[in-house]
Each structure stands twice: as structure tokens, then as C-alpha cells.
């Protein structure tokens, strides 16, 4: 990255839908490279920053996790509207992965099992109160909901792969991964 040439910092966002946050952990594992990164980017939205609403005019957004409920659906749309480049970040966003393992179950059965039969039983009606966002019938990979510009598979993607993808993106190139970098899982 050619830091000197850039006048304005690139507006970067990361979002967290239906996933385990592992991809964000992997992002943090960039370690000292994070310092290089933040010399050229400004983090405008992220689960690791305390910003409540998704801002406008974002250059690049990395989205972790699959679309599992109506909140995700709404956020995904906002992200698409407000970002120039959206990257599916990690296997859950790319394939549905572990999040989508519930696709074989009926939602009602699932909620009953989790909230009413397990330890720490929640009061019946919790999910109907509208406190919990409604689950969509099937967990979807992100590209089946919004248009995606790049894919970064891996569970989680290795920090090196993230670095590779992010640095090419910041150079204005499309995400292009070598064979060993595009493994699922």
C-alpha cells in the first residue's frame, strides 16, 4: 500500500450478521499490520467499535456471517445501499456454513428446543413479543440476498488471506485470491 499518496482515508466498515465473530477475531490477528491498515483506513462501523447505525458513503464493507433473521436482512440491505464494495467475509457469509446447519429444522422446533426445553428456560412467548428478531425460514448466504463484489472464504479466513484481500482492495483492485487462499473451511 502506498500510504503517502493517499490524501483521504478509505472508509472501511465491518459488519457481523449470523456468525460466531471468529472472522473478526481473525481480523484482529492481523496484529501489527493493523497499525499499517489504520494509517490508510478509517473504521466507520464495526462490532469492535461503538457505532450504532450503519453510516453512509462507506467505501469497503466486510460482512461476517450469514443472513439468519429479519434484522440481518435489514442490515444487509442498508450495507448494500451505503457501500461501494461489499465483501462476503468468511464461510458463513459465503456459504451459510455452521449458521445454516439449522436449515434442516423447522423454526418452531428449533426455538422450542433452545428456549423452552434446555437449561435456563425462557418464558414462553419471548420470540413472539418482538424482542427477538424473527428468524427467516432458511439461513441464506449473503450473495443470495444482496449483490456481492468479492468473496473471502475460510472458517475463519487466515489473517494472511485477509491481509492479501484487504490490501488489494485498498489498492483499488478486485479481490483476487490464489488457490490456497480460497479454501472453504
Amino acid at each position: 500500500m502506498d500510504k503517502q499518496k493517499r490524501k483521504k482515508k478509505i472508509r472501511l466498515a465491518t459488519a457481523w450478521l449470523g456468525g460466531c465473530a471468529g472472522c473478526h477475531m481473525s481480523l484482529l490477528d492481523l496484529d501489527e499490520r493493523l497499525i499499517d491498515l489504520f494509517e490508510v483506513v478509517e473504521l466507520v462501523y464495526s462490532p469492535i467499535a461503538d457505532i450504532k447505525t450503519f453510516p453512509k458513503a462507506v467505501d469497503v464493507t466486510l460482512v461476517e456471517g450469514a443472513v439468519a433473521n429479519v434484522d440481518h436482512l435489514e442490515l444487509a440491505e442498508v450495507i448494500r445501499r451505503n457501500s461501494t464494495i461489499v465483501v462476503s467475509f468468511g464461510d458463513c457469509a459465503v456459504t451459510g456454513n455452521v449458521t445454516s446447519l439449522r436449515n434442516r429444522l423447522k423454526i418452531d422446533d428449533l426455538l422450542t428446543k433452545v428456549y423452552h426445553e434446555g437449561p435456563g428456560t425462557a418464558p414462553r412467548g419471548l420470540e413472539e413479543d418482538g424482542i427477538m428478531p424473527a428468524l427467516i425460514p432458511k439461513v441464506l448466504p449473503l450473495h443470495q440476498v444482496i449483490h456481492i463484489d468479492g468473496y473471502l472464504p475460510g472458517c475463519p479466513p487466515e489473517p494472511d488471506h485477509i491481509w492479501q484481500a484487504v490490501s488489494t482492495l485498498l489498492d483499488g483492485q478486485p479481490v483476487r485470491l490464489t488457490q490456497e487462499m480460497r479454501y472453504f473451511g
Partner: protein, 573 residues
Amino acid sequence: MNREELQVIGEREREKQQSYRCRILCCASTPCLSSGATAVIETFKEVIKEFDLEAEVTVTSTGCMGPCSRGPLVTVQMNGQQDVIYEHVTPELARDIALAHAAPEAKPLDRNVLPADLPFFNKQKKVVLANSGLIDPTRLESYVARDGYSALAHALREMTPTEVCEEVIRSGLRGRGGAGYPAGLKWDLVRKAPGDKKYIIANGDEGDPGAYMDRTLMESDPHRILEGMAIAGYAVGADQGFVYVRGEYPIAAKRLENAIRMAERRGLLGSRVLDSPFGFRIDIRIGAGAFVCGEETALMASIMGRRGQPWPRPPYPAQKGLWGLPTLINNVETFGNIAPIISHGADWFGAIGTEKSKGTKIFALAGTVETTGLIEVPMGISLRDIVFEIGGGIPNDRQFKAAQTGGPSGGCIPTDHLDTPVDYESLGALGSIMGSGGLVVMDDTSCMPDVAKFFMEFCMEESCGKCVPCRVGTVQLHRILEHVTDGSATLDDLDRLEELCVMMKETSLCGLGQSAPNPLLSTLKYFREEYEAHITNHTCPAGKCTMFGVPPLQLTRDLLRNTLQAKNDTEVS
């Protein structure tokens, strides 16, 4: 039995027929049986007995006469008079018919008579079905009386195997199973294949929904197929044949079995055919309900008692077929053409049809058309003639929309191309195929994406599962079509649909997968605006599909809105 004895049998049978003043022929193939032909035949027999007409009037159960939707059908032949065909015959009517024709001054009834100049009959040319509806398929003599087995006798005595092959090549006969490979070339390949054990297979596994030509042929004139197979056996040097009959056709199987038994008893099949050194046996194999077994390698797997999965070609069956031995496999209709070709010569046959598609083709005309049934037409006839002349047009004042040929492997042909001549090349150019001969006419109440979905579902359920493009491709295509017909698809889906279709056509292992996208591609080509109406306007122009009106994701968003509303309400209260 030798050739002379054969002629004597034929002569005697003809004399016997002439001795009756009145011959009543009743159609006893499946469609007429299911509309009550049995009771009609019984009535005729009763009346004859009641009025002591045994010496003058005879009743015969025959094969198909053609216009099945008008069944049960009855033909009355009187010496020196034109045949009269009655439609929708009930037992009551049968009684009247018998009495009217048996009377000394016989006069046909004025009810339920099909006019002799009906375009349904005039526009047809019967070669393969020449005997259908005129002979009793359960009696060998009936077939012999119409020169049956004379072609076999001729071939055995006057021709060498090479000459038989050459005659078939010269006739220009092409496979009637769908692909239209020149039959003679195939025969020659098998003849030249090394080895002294070879097989003949007649493919009667007619799986196309909406097609029943092969069944009718097997039911109406089983000996014709056996004779064709025996000639083929002689030509290629095979001594064993199999007829593979679709499991849904019990009557066809039974009549074939009966025919084989009779032919064997008379020495027309067996170790010495017509007292010649040539020996040929035929066995029947009953299918068990798998469309893919119409594909020749899958069919052979099924004959060998295995899962009906195709295997990659080459090697072709002509080199390595049943049990690894050279095998000639043709459709039953192809075999039905052989005896006339040998009897009348290749030139006679070549004069019928078009330059590249010789002879006639049998079609099962079905769908929304006035007269449905079985027709045999010269190749090159226009679709318009078939639909509007022979079929009598579209009933209920509706509009013609498309003609579907070739079943799940074929395509839909729109109004603009109604004047296309029906031959292998022209149909191929339109993205359809001749196929085995199903022809389903659709009026404007048919929704094309829905029709495409119907065929894709068929292919999905019939895919054997061996190769990936067909096994998964059909499922994915069907899924996308479901989205189209419920209004939740996007225009991107259309591109994906097309791309996947082309990929499946080129990469699938066998004919099923390679042709499965045809109905979809052809409807997409000619009725794209209908697809787009489903996608962009969420409406079905034909009024067939139930639409969500909005994509499911949108629905989910509405759910979200309600949820948010509920959230706000709670906060307020």
C-alpha cells in the same frame, strides 16, 4: 413351414374372410377398451348368436383405428362396398349396427358415422400402421393374410445379409426412437462387428408422457415387429432378440408373447426359420418403470437385471452391447418399417417423405385439439396440417399456442413456426426433436414456464443419478422454475437458467440429461415475455400459476416491519 405353406395359409384366410358378407371390426386397444369396447364386442357376438348370423357376419377384435377420442370405434366391411367407421359406439348402438348391416338390403346407419372424407384419414399415409385396425393382432393367420412374413421369406431366400443391410441403407430409414441415426448404417456396423454371438433389441420402452405409438404398434400388429426383428437378425447375424416392453403396457406384452408363441409353433421363429438354416429366437423383457431405460445403454443394463443406468459411449452397443457382445438396438417403430421396405423395395420407401427424412412417422396427437388419437403421416407434412386438418383445430374457440413434440426431450413450437415441415432437421433447427412421436397441442390456457416446470420435474424424477450435471442440474433448474412460477425469481435467475441449460446439454452423460433442458430452452426462446411477465409483473398471462405477488424475501421484510411495529408498541406502552 416353408414359403409355399405360408402362402397357402394366407390364401385360406383370405377366402374365409371373403365368405362373410359382413365383417365387423372392433378396436380393442387400450383407449377404446377403457371407453367400453368390451361390452360393444360382447353385444355384437350376442346379436349374431341371437339372429343366427354366424355364417354371414363375423366380429373381430382389432388394433387401433386412429381417432382414439372418438372411441370405441367400429369398422364395418361389406363385400363390394366402402368401409363404414362408427364412433362412440355403445352396446345399444352396436345392436343397431349389426342389424342394419346384416339385413338383406344392408344400409349403414345415419348416426355416429365418421365421414369417409374426414381429413383425419385423408391426410395420413399408413405404412407401419397399414394393418392396424384391420387385422386381429391375436391371430397369426390374420397377419399372414395381409402378406405377413413374406418379406422375411423373401429376404431369407433371395437376399444375402449384406444385401438386406444395403437395402435398408438405400431406403434412407432413420431410427424412429428420436435421434434419427440412419438405421442401415447401424445394421451394417453390427453386421461387420466380429463375433458369432450377437443380439437384436427392439426398444418398446416408450416413456414420453403423451406418447403411445409404440404401445399401439405392439398391441395392434405384434407380428410386424417380430418379422422386422427376424430380418434384422438375419442381416446382422444375430440369433437372439429381445423386445423390451414398458411395464405400463401389459396388453402389449401379452399380445407380443402370444405372437412369439404362435410364430414359433409355425416355424417362423426358432431354430430353423422358414426351413432355412437361419435360427432366431425372441424373448420379452418387461420394464419396471424408469424413463431413462429408453436410453439404449440403460435399457441394456435393465435387460441384464441391473439398475438402469447408462454407461459412457464409445464403445457403442454395435461393438459392445448386451453382455459385452455386438448388439443392434432399434425402436419398435423402426422395426415396423422393415417388412414394407423389403417387400416393396428401398425406392418405393424413399419416395415417401423428404430428402433427408424418408418414410412416414407415427404421432400420438394429444392435448387441446378436436380429434386426438394416433396418426401416421408422411415426413415433411406441416405442423399446421397435423393440428388443423388432421386434428380438426382447437376446441372451445381457444387459440393455438404451441405444439410440444418429443416429450421431455423435445421443445415447444409456437404459432409462427406452424408451417415448418415435420422432419428431423427442421424440428431440430427449432430447438425441438422428432422424438419418439408425442405431439401435444396446447391452447392459450397453458402457461409456458409451468409447462417447462412440468417437464423439468419429470426429468428430475427420472434422472438416474449417475452424472452430476443431470442429477443436480435438473434439481436446480426445477427450483429456479418454481421461483419463476411463484413470482419470486429475478432476471438474473433467467440468465442462470440459460447458462445451466447449455451446460447440461453439453456435459451430461446420456441423452436424458443432454435433452432435458430442451423444453425449457425452447419456451424461453419463443415465450420469453411470459417468463418476464412472471418475474417483473408477478402475473401469469395464462392465469395458471398462483403467484405470491411479491418475492418471499419481501414477505419476510413485511414480517420485519411488523416486528418493529410490535417493538415500538411495547416501548410506548
